[in-house]
């Protein structure tokens, strides 16, 4: 079981920041990493820390087995139809780039259209800009509703018979709006196009069923869901993966290398060239186990309770402007303090020991939509407590006096 005293699983919660007990409200940037994940990775290095995929000796077979069993685990975790649909990547960013450059770009013709939205993280935005530009294709934007979500109707309004590909998030990283990705996939397919879902923010919060969603690709990162840095997942329908060009060429992904020609392995191995992120993949497996032990229901209840509690209090502070008050499934609160630059504000939180994020949040397109140059975001995970919110609110009340930090 996981520990309900979260500081046992996450010793970082016992740290101080600027002399105050640490309050972590930045899990949407990266979640904290539980001890079980570290233990599993340490175990790899200490007990069988050898290379994979070529292990013809017992310890290599052990490493292979541990590594490949995570593929099965991920398959079940997101309900893919086969383990061969799971590609390990460096993270969401890499996963999306693999699809953009290995799958979409080679098919695109001048005049084709790609659809995305202004609420995407840069990782699911810039690659499509570049791909569209290289192919002479047009980038179109599904309009956002008041909560920052893309409704099926909104998607439909920008689809055409020229649309080749759609790239949208499952949950956005600033507004934390939840998209009905199943309906978005249906609309996409009605137009004969294909869809990638950026699940980086969704996977830590919702149970994923890629077959029910019926998306063609789904991407997420380990470090946002209790896993280690340096690892992520690209899910692709097998036929899509088989039709995708490799992104990197080298060892492990090849079948036969001759002087002038090389043949490649089938998916997913064709996309995992070189020595993989071995410890990280094994750590990802432990993170999934951990997350499943806690259960999404527990995570959702805790986050919703804390978020409502925080919103209620923030709404009483007239200097606070909240951008996503009605996103009840959200794990974030996106806000600003009137007449206070986000960077001035964040130092006030910092000195109170409260870690929240400020800036463009890798979402400049969204910020331009809401006419803000920068923004504050607090984000929640299951290890947060009511006391954290109280500390957060107390800091918020001080933020208008942002020059105080210079005179402590």
């Amino acid at each position: 079981m996981y520990n309900t005293d979260w500081t046992k699983d996450f010793p970082i919660l016992n740290q101080e920041m600027n002399g105050k007990a640490f309050v972590y409200l930045d899990s949407a940037a990266t979640s904290l990493t539980p001890e079980v994940v570290l233990e599993k990775m340490n175990e790899y290095y200490r007990e069988y820390g050898v290379n994979v995929h070529r292990g013809v000796y017992a310890m290599g077979a052990k490493a292979d087995g541990e590594f490949e069993s995570v593929r099965d685990q991920v398959q079940k975790f997101i309900k893919a139809s086969s383990r061969e649909e799971i590609v390990f990547t460096r993270g969401t960013t890499t996963a999306i780039n693999m699809v953009a450059f290995g799958y979409v770009l080679p098919k695109l013709q001048a005049g084709d259209e790609i659809v995305t939205s202004m609420s995407e993280h840069h990782a699911n935005f810039v690659p499509w800009q570049v791909v569209a530009q290289k192919a002479g294709a047009t980038l179109k934007f599904a309009p956002l509703d008041a909560n920052g979500a893309v409704t099926p109707a909104a998607l439909q309004s920008v689809m055409s018979e020229k649309t080749r590909f759609v790239a949208l998030n499952h949950m956005s990283n600033v507004m934390s709006a939840l998209n009905d990705v199943q309906a978005l996939s249906r609309v996409t397919h009605e137009f004969g196009a294909e869809i990638l879902i950026d699940g980086a923010q969704a996977v830590p919060h919702l149970s994923i069923d890629v077959q029910a969603i019926d998306c063609d690709f789904y991407a997420f990162s380990g470090h946002k869901m209790f896993g280690p840095t340096g690892v992520g997942v690209l899910y692709g329908k097998y036929a899509c993966l088989q039709a995708m060009e490799p992104f990197e060429y080298g060892g492990a992904m090849i079948d036969q290398v001759q002087q002038f020609t090389t043949s490649y392995k089938d998916a997913p191995y064709r996309f995992e060239s070189g020595t993989p992120m071995i410890a990280e993949v094994i750590g990802l497996g432990a993170a999934i186990t951990y997350l499943e032990k806690i259960g999404y229901a527990t995570i959702q209840t805790q986050i919703e309770t804390l978020r409502e509690y925080a919103i209620q209090q923030l709404e009483q502070l007239e200097q606070v402007e909240i951008y996503n008050p009605h996103n009840h499934e959200a794990a974030t609160i996106a806000f600003n303090i009137k007449d206070v630059h986000s960077h001035d504000a964040v130092t006030v939180y910092d000195l109170e020991g409260v870690a929240i994020r400020a800036g463009h949040l890798c979402a400049q397109p969204l910020l331009s939509e809401i006419h803000q140059g920068s923004i504050l975001r607090m984000s929640l995970q299951v290890y947060n407590t009511k006391a954290d919110i109280d500390r957060f609110i107390a800091a918020t009340k001080k933020a208008s006096d942002f020059l105080d930090v210079l005179f402590l």
Partner: protein, 156 residues
Amino acid sequence: MSYSYDEQMFRQIIMDHYKTPRFKGLVEQPGFVTVHLKNPSCGDDMQVQTQVENGVITEVHHDGSGCSICCASASMMAQLVSGETIEQAQAKKQAFYDMVSGQGIDEELLDEAISLQGVAKLPPRIKCATLGWKAFEQTISKETVEQAEGVTIVTE
């Protein structure tokens, strides 16, 4: 493993199939299904070619390169399934998989192939022993053929 065996005899059988493989070499004729499988971890490489007529495996050929276990096993496989009905061949295949995964030895079905029973104690080598069988299995299973991974299929 409680089966009693003559180690010396088993060694001879294996070396014999390794050095003088039966049914080795592919043919260039219509009516054969060929499956090409590889074991990426060690480079074993195996093609198996099957002709089926009226539910009977009339001919099996194999070609490839690999270690003693891989090559000897493919040769034994070809010998075991030639002339058998598909059902019978599948039963033998299953018996072989069972043996190398330590789940009992069916001497009647496996005949000389029981010489490879020691593979059950060598997990990294199970793939070597089953490579020829896996390829064979795919030649006779259209369904598997279509979904299979790492397969080159030439149906003539």
